[in-house]
């Protein structure tokens, strides 16, 4: 359990200012102010009364002193719920060196759970999926939620293939509040399919972030000679020559990443590429920095 609470990781994340979160529901409550005005204890501004305004919001004390009718407005503090969709297909067990993509995904998910529940008092939930939804932990702020989430992460062992359609449909069925959905996967699917599947989440007002986890060898593979490759998910195998890996493959994976990034941003979602040899905190910091810059 402690491996998810690495103080260095937490320290790294805590040093970042969550003010960078400017979106409406806030990524982490307490550090992000809600873009939506609601009922809150913190005064925001006065506004002149116009017919049709709710009289409950009129500041009668001010009217008594000035005989002018103003509405008193407050800055609302909203709690959001974080749902992480973790890909636990077989492709996530690939590694060219520790950690594997699955472990790296667990680290990130655990860090985010901790950050959201302990610091932000947000509800957090987990959906582990491959071609089916294997595990679902409803978002909650109840005590013990963090432990349940961690246990869910522990149980998430890679197997089977990836199918984004079913888990996202399942997520939509259980989603009643707006929140943040983070999809952690290696996204070995066509970008069009991914975006087509994830876009409905965005339509419900959710903030959708795609964490694209890849191993360094998947981006810049090295191959000394002709090798027989086997697909971890389909068990398909064929011989690949080094010349192809050095040239065509790299171009294809780069194009895939770039297309996924562009399509994601075009769909109003966020995208972050995480390579397993990058430090965990730096990856989160980079993401948060991007969010800050984006706002």
């Amino acid at each position: 359990m402690q491996r998810f609470l690495d103080p260095a990781v937490l320290a790294g994340i805590s040093s970042l200012d969550l003010l960078a979160r400017t979106v409406v529901d806030g990524f982490v409550a307490g550090l992000h102010r809600s873009p939506d005005f609601g009922f809150s204890q913190e005064f925001a501004e006065y506004r002149a009364y116009t017919p049709g305004d709710d009289l409950r919001h009129v500041d009668w004390n001010l009217f008594a002193r000035t005989e002018r009718c103003y509405l008193k407005r407050y800055r609302g503090e909203t709690n959001t719920q974080l749902t992480i969709l973790l890909d636990a297909s077989n492709s996530m067990q690939y590694t060219s060196g520790p950690p594997s993509k699955m472990d790296y995904a667990r680290f990130i998910a655990a860090s985010l759970f901790y950050l959201s529940i302990r610091n932000q008092r947000d509800a957090a939930g987990l959906i582990v999926f491959d071609d089916e939804v294997r595990d679902y932990i409803r978002p909650s702020t109840r005590p013990g939620q963090l432990a349940r989430l961690f246990a869910g992460l522990e149980r998430a062992e890679p197997r089977a293939r990836t199918n984004f359609a079913k888990p996202l449909q399942h997520f939509q069925n259980f989603l009643h509040r707006r929140g943040m959905a983070i999809i952690i996967s290696d996204f070995y699917e066509s970008p069009e399919t991914i975006i087509h599947t994830a876009a409905p989440l965005r339509f419900h007002g959710n903030e959708v972030v795609l964490f694209h986890i890849l191993d360094p060898q998947e981006i810049r593979p090295s191959m000394k000679g002709s090798s027989m490759l086997i697909d971890l998910e389909t068990d398909q195998k064929f011989e690949v020559v080094p010349d192809y890996v050095k040239t065509t493959y790299r171009a294809k994976i780069d194009a895939h990443i770039e297309e996924l990034r562009s399509r994601t941003l075009a769909a109003g979602m966020d995208y972050q590429l995480l390579v397993t040899n990058q430090p965990l905190d730096s990856a989160l910091r980079e993401y948060l920095t991007l969010r800050q810059e984006g706002n």
Binding site: S91, S227, E233, V240, Y244
Partner: protein
């Protein structure tokens, strides 16, 4: 380059193992898992090429390891020359024998030798020799080109006879001390007559590489020569028809039948000319009689008047000493009258010398002075007057000669006067009803000299000996023995003189020798030998020796000897003139000798007439000689030549060392591959 154990090369078949492993065996690549094959495409690469590229170094190391291990067991070696070119001795031998005077042979040989010397690498040692009457070493092995060239330039043609057998013997002796390779360059006319009787005598030792440079090409030139001259060395009466005559044999080599004028010259004047009809490749005899010469030494010459291709051998020289007859003292027992008769008759019948025999009984010899006689004969004298015996001993010590014949009296008196020994036993063959014959005869002994003795042992086989005394030879030289081993003829040097002992008598009682023709020849030669007249005149061959002093004479005994050679030079130094015991007659012409005892001699010296046969050796013989030992014993001799010039350097240790490095490199490289495979798995 070779292998000491070439059968181990069969291990090269093991090279098939890495070839099979790397090139032929089906290559199984462990599958490499990837997350998805979404971005991969199938690509097939030639498995052979693939493996060649990937495992080329490993394959090479394994092949090299096996190859080196096999080579190490096969023990490779290479042959390294024992000595470099400069360590090889260049031996230049120039034939300066008499035949090289024909035409331009000697000049050509000398020119070619100089060219060979000029072609010698600087710093290589060389040695110059001449092959004439004897093998003469002109320089030691030196690298000084100037000195070598000067020695070669000073070589002059000689009058001796070349003998390739002597060259072979010298080099075989030389190779025992000089182990370095020798390049022998022989410049000669390759005369066939220079070959020894046994071809093996010409064979060169293994470390000698013989290169022949014949200077005479094609067929031999026709050549006539005065082959031999039979003339008296001493002549007492020019009108004596038996002795006063000269018989010359004219021989032709490769010649057609022709007529030649042959002249006899005495002291430079032609006194007679004869016409000789010489058949093709044949011989003709020319007689000159009488030989009218003046008192004293006469330098005579028989000469073919018409010249030919080789004029140097057209004359033969000899000297004739005309003097009064020499007296010979014959001392016999009182009751022996036959021996003097037989001996005197034989002495008169001899053709070459003139002697007058003075016969006297032993008892009457008291007052005689032996020094007035050419030599003394003691025939069956068991006792001599003491005064005469003493005078006789002194006579012998000063150079006189005595012939002792033991007759029947030896049985009664064992002491042999003047001889210094006793007759140990008496062999009375007649008593046993038989006889003895001369079993072995030394025909090289001057008193028994015969050029070509026949099957009858030169006539001695027919002589029957009935009675002989067994004399201990001690220090004496035994010239003939009876068939039972009893010494028959002995010679002993006493002082400067000599004593010849015949263990049988000179009469016809103890043997029948006087009844045989060989007796006349024996007496003649003994008389000439003992009188010393044959040393004083006559003719000799080049490279023969004249005895100047007795071998038993001490140094500086009797004063110095003066010799004047045909070039009017004195070949002996002052020291040699006092000590030399013999003189080699190296030049053709007349030698004038003044002996220590006051006697003079003039000797005509002629080249060996075998040199006049200019027929060269056949090319087959030359080829056989130049590679003589390779032909005689191709394997052992060839191996010896190789051993002398090369040595084998075994490389197995170095090969094994390289194999060790290859094994270490292969291990390191292969472990790298294994590590990669584990990681892939």
């Amino acid at each position: 380059m070779g292998f000491l154990n070439p059968w181990f090369l069969g291990g090269l078949a093991a090279l098939g193992v890495p070839v099979f492993v790397h090139l032929l065996r089906k290559h199984v690549t462990p599958p490499r898992p990837v997350s998805s094959l979404m971005f991969f495409e199938r690509g097939t690469q030639s498995s052979t090429r693939h493996r060649q590229l990937r495992y080329l170094l490993l394959f090479s190391l394994r092949v090299a390891l096996i190859l080196l291990a096999v080579l190490a067991f096969a023990s490779p070696f290479f042959r390294r020359a024992n000595a470099d070119a400069n360590a090889r001795l260049l031996l230049i031998v120039v034939d300066n024998s008499f035949s090289m005077r024909a035409g331009t042979r000697f000049a050509d040989a000398k020119q070619q030798a100089l060219a060979a010397l000029a072609a010698k690498p600087h710093g290589q040692k060389a040695q110059i020799m001449t092959l004439g009457g004897e093998l003469e070493v002109l320089t030691q092995p030196i690298a000084d080109d100037e000195q070598l060239r000067a020695a070669l330039a000073n070589v002059e043609p000689g009058d001796g006879r070349a003998n390739f057998g002597e060259l072979g013997r010298y080099l075989r002796t030389m190779s025992e001390s000089v182990r370095s390779p020798i390049d022998l360059e022989l410049f000669s006319d390759m005369q066939r007559s220079a070959m020894p009787a046994n071809f093996a005598d010409m064979a060169m030792p293994p470390n000698v590489k013989l290169a022949l440079h014949p200077v005479a090409r094609g067929n031999a030139l026709p050549n006539w020569t005065v082959e031999s001259v039979d003339a008296p060395a001493e002549l007492a009466d020019p009108k004596d028809p038996k002795r006063s005559r000269v018989a010359a044999v004219i021989a032709g080599f490769e010649t057609p039948a022709t007529s030649k004028n042959v002249s006899l010259l005495v002291n430079g004047k032609v006194i007679a000319t004869r016409k000789a009809d010489i058949p093709a490749n044949g011989r003709a005899t020319v007689d000159f009689a009488p030989l009218d010469v003046a008192y004293g030494f006469n330098r005579c010459q028989v000469r073919i008047d018409n010249g030919d291709a080789f004029p140097n051998d057209d004359a033969s020289v000899f000297s004739v000493l005309r003097s009064d007859p020499q007296r010979v003292l014959f001392v016999h027992a009182a009751n022996d009258t036959r021996s003097a008769l037989y001996f005197g008759a034989a002495l008169d019948a001899a053709a070459h010398a003139s002697f007058v025999l003075q016969s006297v009984a032993a008892e009457q010899a008291t007052d005689l002075d032996p020094s007035k006689f050419a030599f003394v004969v003691l025939s069956d004298t068991t006792s001599l007057p003491s005064i005469f015996e003493h005078a006789l001993a002194a006579y012998v010590a000063k150079g006189g000669s005595v012939l002792i014949a033991l007759g029947t009296s030896a049985a009664h008196h064992e002491h042999i006067p003047l001889w210094g020994g006793e007759a140990r036993d008496i062999r009375d063959y007649a008593r046993s009803g038989g006889s003895a014959t001369a079993g072995s005869v030394d025909f090289g002994y001057p008193a028994l000299e015969q050029a070509q003795p026949g099957r009858d042992n030169g006539g001695w086989a027919e002589v029957k000996f009935f009675y002989a005394a067994a004399v201990d030879p001690a220090q004496a030289r035994v010239a003939a023995r009876l068939n039972d081993g009893t010494p028959l003829l002995l010679e002993k040097q006493v002082g400067e003189g000599r004593i010849v002992l015949l263990s049988s008598g000179l009469d016809n009682l103890t043997n029948d020798l006087p009844l045989h023709p060989v007796f006349v020849a024996f007496v003649d030669r003994v008389a000439r030998y003992l009188s010393g007249s044959e040393q004083l005149s006559g003719a000799r061959l080049v490279d023969s020796f004249v005895q100047l002093r007795a071998a038993s004479a001490g140094l500086d005994a009797g004063g110095s000897i003066e010799v004047i050679d045909p070039d009017s030079r004195r070949p002996l130094s002052l020291t040699e003139a006092r000590t030399a015991q013999s003189l080699r007659l190296a030049r053709a012409g007349f030698y004038q000798i003044h002996f220590a005892n006051g006697r003079d001699a003039v000797i005509g010296v002629n080249p060996d007439r075998r040199e006049s046969d200019l027929q060269p050796m056949s090319s087959d013989l030359l080829q056989l000689w130049s590679g003589s030992f390779a032909g005689a014993a191709p394997q052992s001799a060839g191996a010896n030549v190789d051993d002398a010039q090369y040595r084998n350097v075994n490389l197995w240790w170095w090969v094994m060392l390289i194999a060790l490095f290859a094994a270490m490199a292969e291990t390191a490289w292969a472990s790298g591959y294994m590590g990669t495979q584990r990681e892939d798995a």
